[in-house]
């Protein structure tokens, strides 16, 4: 059914339809509306789940870890500092192969404290072992939760999945969305069956100490499973299309790539702005395009290579930094082409929209314009030089 919903309400509703047995979260802007709504849904008896109020994000992550360890479907959500406070537990959830599903309202990191949107929080967690999806709009954010449960709980995968949606832009924006029925969701997503679980009748230890004789194999298997997820995601999105009628690639999405001479690579809600600019520039005969990366982890190396191998000029947009090095997404996109038979002539790297700085259509046009010159390395767009000073004397 078509409904006009705030992003947070839409996600809360889709989580309700996925029927988690345990929800635990600690409020943090801009994630709060999601878990506030879920608490209301549970209190109203519209979802038979335990909503566990906790004193911190570290505890929220620990509660959902414990819940999934006992064989129950669980859900949590967080953002920014909260995500970092969870970090220790998040690595454990992935290492213990527990399919927790989490929404992350992507937000900047302190200091200076800033509650607005960029990708520094989620991108910093890219090595945690979690599968990481980035949504462009509210509908995609909803749909990725359904795919996330299917993927994470698949017996061959058993990994946690983080669905990243841009804070405020998607969590607080309104959009007309197609809300699936419970029957549709049930058809796509069966109840969670844990391959092993904590059970007093059949005791076992999860996450034991492993000495150097065992550790490497556990990490190798985790890494290998990320690769295997790359093959499974397109199969799940094809199945998704049959049930819900919306088609996603799940790994990357190309926009106007055929015959394109300049292409921007980006993640998240900025892709909507870029598509709009592309439409305007195409109307003037400019051959421009976009490659949206939906799955940051696993990183779709082959899909990116196939989509971009014949493009002469690339620009990678990062909304996060790896301080002291290349911008993170640009480094990985460049690595895709190293030693390959075909590669773009230029790959530039731009940093935009940190801490909620608006990325306007002019910002995107500026990037397309700067792609004419020499390669740029982590070039900041819309920077205000007048705010930069050498001393406070």
């Amino acid at each position: 059914m078509k409904e006009l919903l705030e992003g947070s309400m839409a996600v809360a509703e889709i989580v309700r339809l996925c029927k988690p047995g345990v929800i635990s979260a600690y409020p943090i802007t801009p994630q709060t509306h999601i878990v506030e709504e879920l608490a209301q849904i549970v209190a109203d008896g519209r979802l038979n789940a335990q909503f566990v109020n906790v004193e911190s994000e570290h505890s929220a992550a620990s509660v959902v870890l414990g819940a999934v360890a006992t064989g129950v479907r669980a859900y949590t959500a967080t953002s920014s500092q909260g995500l970092f406070y969870m970090a220790e537990v998040l690595y454990n959830i992935a290492g213990m192969r527990l399919p927790v599903i989490m929404t992350t309202a992507a937000r900047a990191i302190s200091a200076p404290i800033n509650i607005w949107n960029d990708h520094q929080d989620v991108v910093s967690l890219r090595d945690s072992g979690w599968i990481q999806f980035h949504a462009e709009d509210i509908q995609e954010a909803m749909d990725l939760h359904l795919i996330a449960y299917r993927l994470g709980e698949d017996r061959s995968i058993m990994l946690p999945v983080m669905v990243c949606m841009d804070g405020f832009i998607l969590t607080h924006g309104m959009e007309t969305v197609d809300m699936p029925s419970q029957e549709q969701v049930d058809k796509f997503l069966s109840p969670y069956k844990a391959p092993y679980k904590l059970d007093v009748e059949n005791p076992l230890t999860l996450g034991p100490l492993v000495d150097p004789e065992y550790y490497m194999e556990a990490r190798f298997a985790l890494n290998k499973t990320q690769e295997e997820a790359l093959a499974l995601i397109p199969k799940l999105t094809a199945e998704f299309a049959k049930v819900f009628g919306r088609t996603y690639n799940g790994l990357v999405e190309g926009y106007q790539l055929k015959d394109a001479e300049k292409v921007i690579v980006a993640m998240g809600s900025v892709c909507g702005t870029i598509k709009e600019v592309i439409d305007e520039l195409r109307a003037k005969g400019k051959k421009v395009g976009l490659l949206k990366v939906t799955s940051l982890r696993p990183f779709p190396v082959n899909a990116i290579y196939d989509a971009l191998k014949n493009i002469p000029k690339l620009a990678v947009i990062d909304r996060a930094l790896s301080l002291g090095s290349f911008a993170p997404l640009s480094a990985e996109v460049k690595a895709v082409f190293f030693g390959k038979p075909k590669q773009p002539k230029n790959i530039s790297s731009f940093v935009v929209g940190l801490g909620g700085r608006d990325i306007t259509k002019d910002s995107i046009k500026e990037i397309f314009r700067l792609m004419n010159g020499k390669d740029k390395q982590a070039e900041f767009i819309d920077l205000k030089p007048e705010l930069l000073k050498e001393s406070y004397e």
């Binding site: 213990m96 192969r97 061959s156 058993m158 092993y196 005791p203 076992l204 230890t205 999860l206 996450g207 034991p208 492993v210 065992y214 550790y215 194999e217 556990a218 990490r219 190798f220 298997a221 985790l222 290998k224 499973t225 295997e228």
Partner: protein, 87 residues
Amino acid sequence: MFGPLICKPGSSKSNKTGPWRTESRPKFLKKNCIACNMCVAACPESCISGQGKNTYEVDLAYCKGCGICAAVCPKKDIEMIKEEGAE
């Protein structure tokens, strides 16, 4: 793909700690033993067993050679001897 993730109860049995022994091992003299069971209670590896006086033995597959049994024996009936090959 999965790696080592879970373990079932009893896994400490498969972890043979005997090779940790580097210098000495206990020798049960079996002369003045009064079957007080102190050595059994004190052994951190639970690898000493016996039924009655002068019957106590150590399972060297698990004994780390810590010497606690010899130290707690009220009759000095356990002595630590040099591990074979130790300098």
